[in-house]
């Protein structure tokens, strides 16, 4: 019970830290709404295009913002010495990482609810199996938060976390099928896209939201996302104490 309490306390602390900081709150909630509005109003007369973009947009927003905010938050823990202080108490690494994950799962769920509600009501869109969307986004959050924690090991300041965006986020956006269908890309790029979590996220969300499929129909993608989440989680866990 004590271990669970510690995990819950860390989750609540992560949520409170982010919500107490107006810039982080704006980054998580307002920035996605601005991006969504820009895209939504650009395609206001072309419902079909907007429909196709929404699943990809959701995946990218959750992946991008949870990677960035988790990476920066964890880097601050390392730089300011709070992580060192925390690990002197009877707190295990697993408490820290699961605390972060649960905290960000709450935040990304709220983020997704706001963005989806906004798209549905503002642009009069309709989607299937909304509840299953959250299962996919949960796996995406685990992957991106763990990746953020892992990457924070290699950064010395917040600016260096930003420098990882062109390396980790941008190639995934280009190769995920948002702009060009993956099948139309050169063979090499198709192979590379297979090892990128965002490609499987976009495909899974599109299948569920647009084509009425359910989780049983996208098991290979689901297992791939589970694999990415496990690998990133293990990498995040292994490096949690490094460079504190």
């Amino acid at each position: 019970m004590k271990s669970i309490n510690r995990t819950i306390c860390i989750s609540l602390r992560v949520i409170r830290q982010i919500t107490n900081d107006p810039r982080s709150t704006a980054l998580i909630i307002i920035a996605p709404l601005i991006v969504t509005s820009l895209i939504g109003f650009s395609f206001i007369g072309q419902k079909e295009i907007l429909n196709k973009i929404t699943p990809a947009l959701l995946g990218v927003i959750v992946f991008f913002f949870s990677f960035l905010v988790a990476g920066v938050s964890f880097l601050r823990e390392r730089i300011e010495g709070t992580l060192e202080r925390l690990l002197l108490l009877p707190v295990k690494k697993v408490n820290v990482i699961t605390g972060y994950l649960f905290g960000f799962l709450v935040l990304t769920t709220i983020q997704t609810l706001i963005v989806l509600t906004y798209i549905i009501f503002m642009f009069d869109q309709g989607y299937n199996n909304i509840s299953q969307v959250f299962v996919i986004l949960m796996l995406v959050t685990i992957t991106s938060v763990s990746l953020g924690i892992f990457v924070s090991t290699f950064a010395r300041n917040e600016f260096q976390i930003i420098q990882f965006i062109p390396l980790i986020i941008l190639p995934q956006i280009f190769l995920s099928g948002i702009f060009i269908p993956v099948g139309e890309m050169p063979q090499v790029l198709q192979l590379i896209s297979e090892i990128l979590p965002l490609k499987h996220t976009v495909f899974s969300l599109s299948q569920i939201m647009l084509h009425g499929k359910n989780l049983n129909n996208i098991l290979p993608q689901l297992f791939a996302l589970l694999g990415f989440a496990s690998v990133c989680l293990a990498a995040g866990m292994a490096t949690i104490k490094n460079r504190s």
Binding site: R16, N20, L87, P90
Partner: protein
């Protein structure tokens, strides 16, 4: 040393050596500190004080030699230690009270909606009750220092390690800190304090002068002053005397 005497020891360090890459930071440290005493370690910046503290708290693993805290190896005793690092190590976006409650909940494994009654008492001691709802990022450096000390105290540890606890404090608060440290020793709590000021050193029961990773002198402030062989010599004179003779 006999078994009985060992039971009264808060800290035993034996032949401790530590290097960062090829740089030898601590070179054969031996220390025995009794329970219920204030021990001060003095040395210039880079002398090895913080490395020694990190080894005692288990943040670094010793490469050679042994360390026992309250009779147990570091791996078993680190949760009985209250540690105040040189950096404030606080959550800037949280309030003073939330920081203190969080570290208290983490230590005790309490539900997030409960915290130990000690929280208010410790806040009163560091004179931060009025600021308990204030976010840490709005506090002055001195206030952050006091909150950092409060976090080290909130779990009532038996052994306290304080890395330069009085740096940046005004004389009035510094004096109240020392009065409180002395009160803690009455309840058999032991304190290990690093400093580079002679004013802090004079408050300690025992002192060690650390230079280039070696202890060059050990004793009470009085013993160290007397070792210079001069009347009315200060601790600064004593420090310079040992530096010259080592």
């Amino acid at each position: 040393m006999g078994q009985n005497k060992k039971e009264f020891l808060a800290l035993e360090v034996d032949s401790l050596r530590f290097s960062y890459k090829n740089h030898l930071v601590l070179n054969g440290i031996n220390l025995s500190i009794s329970k219920g005493k204030i021990f001060g370690i003095l040395g210039a910046n880079g002398a090895g004080k913080t490395t020694l503290m990190k080894l005692i708290t288990g943040q670094l693993n010793s490469q050679e030699g042994t360390i026992k805290v309250l009779g147990k190896p570091v791996s078993e005793s680190k949760h009985s230690i209250g540690y105040m690092p040189q950096k404030h190590s606080l959550y800037q976006e949280l309030s003073v009270e939330d920081n203190l409650k969080f570290f208290n909940q983490m230590y005790l494994g309490l539900s997030p909606f409960k915290s130990h009654s000690n929280v208010e008492e410790v806040l009163a001691f560091v004179n931060l009750i009025k600021f308990k709802k204030e976010k840490v990022l709005r506090l002055s450096e001195g206030m952050k220092q006091r909150l950092s000390l409060a976090i080290a105290l909130v779990n009532s540890p038996d052994f306290l390690i304080l890395d330069e606890p009085t740096v940046g404090l005004d004389p009035e608060i510094r004096s109240s800190f020392w009065a409180h440290f002395k009160n803690l020793t009455k309840t058999k709590k032991s304190l290990f304090i690093s400093s580079h000021t002679m004013d802090d050193a004079s408050h300690c029961d025992k002192l060690a002068f650390l230079r280039n990773g070696k202890i060059i002198a050990f004793g009470s402030p009085k013993e160290l002053r007397e070792a210079t062989g001069k009347n009315n010599s200060s601790l600064e004179d004593a420090f310079l005397y040992f530096v010259k003779n080592n």
